[in-house]
């Protein structure tokens, strides 16, 4: 019985990993929109990490996050890898803190927004360190925060919708 559970878990993490990587690749194809911060993406792969953080384990969620970072590094270069990892790790850590507890004080939309905001803050800090210019906080910060709210709202709502189905699949 225990072996069967492990097999199921491996399969689940495989599917989630494929989903996260596939979604983040699809997002990288989105062209730059006027008015939106360049390189901003909906962060749909966050759904996979948020689900893993809430239903599987902290290690699994971080594993997928790091996998995503390595994938970004292979396909889009070293800077993209650093950006993906810094944002991803901060947002996954936040998802673990918010979703692992027995009773959460936040709804799905709140968790989605907090994760997206943390993702963008992590990336902004990395961008500042990489460029050595802290004025980026004022130049990009407000736009990134607004965008994070929008995408966090979307990913949180999607997570709420797919959660029952995913729960059935993973139990």
């Amino acid at each position: 019985m225990k072996n069967k559970n492990i097999t199921k878990k491996i399969a689940l993490i495989g599917v989630m990993g494929a989903l996260a990587v596939g979604l983040s690749y699809l997002e990288s194809l989105i062209p730059a929109f006027p008015g939106f911060p360049p390189g901003a993406k909906p962060g749909l792969s966050n759904i996979a990490t948020m689900f893993l953080a809430s239903s599987c384990g902290i290690a699994d969620a971080f594993f997928i996050t790091i996998l995503k970072g390595i994938f970004a590094g292979i396909t889009r270069g070293f800077t993209a890898m650093l950006m993906s990892l810094s944002g991803g790790i901060l947002s996954t850590a936040m998802a673990c803190i918010l979703l692992r507890g027995k009773k959460s004080n936040f709804g799905y939309i709140g968790v989605g927004i907090i994760c997206a905001v943390c993702h963008n803050i992590g990336q902004l800090i990395t961008a500042c360190i990489l460029s050595g210019t802290w004025s980026l906080v004022f130049g990009y910060g407000p736009l990134l925060l607004i965008f994070a709210m929008l995408t966090g709202f979307i990913t949180g709502s999607i997570l709420k919708l797919v959660m029952p189905a995913l729960k059935r699949f993973s139990n």
């Binding site: 062209p31 730059a32 006027p34 360049p38 390189g39 889009r76 270069g77 070293f78 800077t79 993209a80 950006m83 959460s104 004080n105 936040f106 709804g107 799905y108 939309i109 709140g110 927004i113 907090i114 905001v117 961008a127 990489l130 460029s131 050595g132 210019t133 004025s135 980026l136 906080v137 004022f138 130049g139 990009y140 910060g141 407000p142 925060l145 607004i146 994070a148 709210m149 949180g156 709502s157 709420k160």
Partner: protein, 123 residues
Amino acid sequence: MKLLKKNDILVISAVLILCLVLLIPSFKKSDRLIATVTVDGVQTYVIDLSSVEKAYSFDTNTTPKAEITVEKNAIYFSYADCPDKLCVNTGKLTKNGQTAACLPAKVVVSLKSAKSDFDVLTY
């Protein structure tokens, strides 16, 4: 777990307030537009965009290559040798507070407004 809880609304308002606070510097209005180009954390070029008469381009001498074009009241990355081209896709910067960055080349262009008695600086 519900979709939206009371705390979620608190989070949304907190983020909105933070947004407005960060926007304060760019509300300042003035008649002159100054572009600063920072390369690897060092302020390398300061260009008064209001006094540019003829458009020109220059190379930042970085690896990967990045080329910046200056026009009257506008500045933008016209070419970059990096894979993502985020800086080029940012488009023209024309307003106070706008920023474009090329992280692989460590070049940041940001716009500030200045009072009209600002010394005219060109590179």
